[in-house]
Amino acid sequence: MNVLISGGAKNGKSLYAQQTASELADCGPLYYIATMIPHDGEDRARIERHVKEREGWGFTTIEQGKSIASLIGREDVDLKGSFLLDSVTAVLENEMFPVALKEGKPEFLGEDEEAPERVKKELVAFGSAVKEAGGSVVFVSDCIYGDSCGYSPSTEKYRRALAEADRALAAVCDKVTEVTCGITEEWK
């Protein structure tokens, strides 16, 4: 069973997603797909906090911030397991706005125009491959669609691309849940 979880920032999505993924694992393999690619000390501190929060849950961490479909067919990845992908937002960001580390400093490589379509397809493909194998994926995304201010054209493109990825995932997931203040609302 595949699940899409979205909602505002700091509303309890990750905790709910961890519970859902761990229930779906049903004693089978439980994977955490770590999507954040650290670029500085702030990122590393956040990752450390996340790692601590997951302690004791039994997750095997897979570092995969890009090319999610490449997990299909990997020897060390059992598609019959339960996967938590947190988050769609980060994967899209990593692929749309790639950054390379040059002498320890992040350098922006320019916007990848093909990323939105590719990321959407890869996420859907990964979800269906896992489901076909008998496993499950919990996708976590962010609801960033309620602002009134105009953003720069590239940020606006990113918002649209994330919404399209969310909608594509919502269409194929078995369950779609919104988390607000830690309270869940079922949409599908």
């Binding site: 669609y145 918002r159 919404a163 399209e164 909608r167 949409w187």
Partner: protein
């Protein structure tokens, strides 16, 4: 009247077309005035912004044209969830759009919210 609202890019108009089996859409997001001969009028938030910038009250605009939108599907993007904008005009537009949404929701027979392309009737 049926009001459909939700965040940006959530598939609100698409949902309205499918859910209510309608096809004639007037889209105000890039400009223009409502064409009340159409079944669906979308982009009301952008229209409310323009009215507000011109010193008009969007809720009043609709209140005084009641007969024209009765029986229609009105679609508005909820732009009220983010940070209060620093820019005075954007702030005024956001407030005007929020007040219009509240007025229309009060008058509507049905209100639907759209999330990730999925709609839910909440009134």
């Amino acid at each position: 009247m049926i009001l459909v609202f939700g965040g940006a890019y959530q598939g609100k108009t698409e949902y309205a077309v499918k859910e209510f089996g309608l096809s004639a859409v007037c889209d105000l997001s890039e400009g223009g005035e409502p064409d009340f001969t159409k079944e669906i009028i979308t982009g009301l938030d952008a229209f409310a912004s323009r009215l507000s910038a011109a010193g008009e009250d969007p809720a009043e605009y609709f209140r005084s044209r009641r007969g024209l939108w009765e029986g229609k599907v009105l679609v508005i993007t909820d732009t009220t969830q983010g940070v209060v904008p620093v820019d005075r005009e954007v702030r005024a537009a956001r407030e005007a759009s929020g007040r219009l949404m509240m007025y229309l929701a009060g008058e509507a027979e049905q209100v639907h919210r759209v999330f990730c392309g999925i709609g839910k009737r909440i009134k």
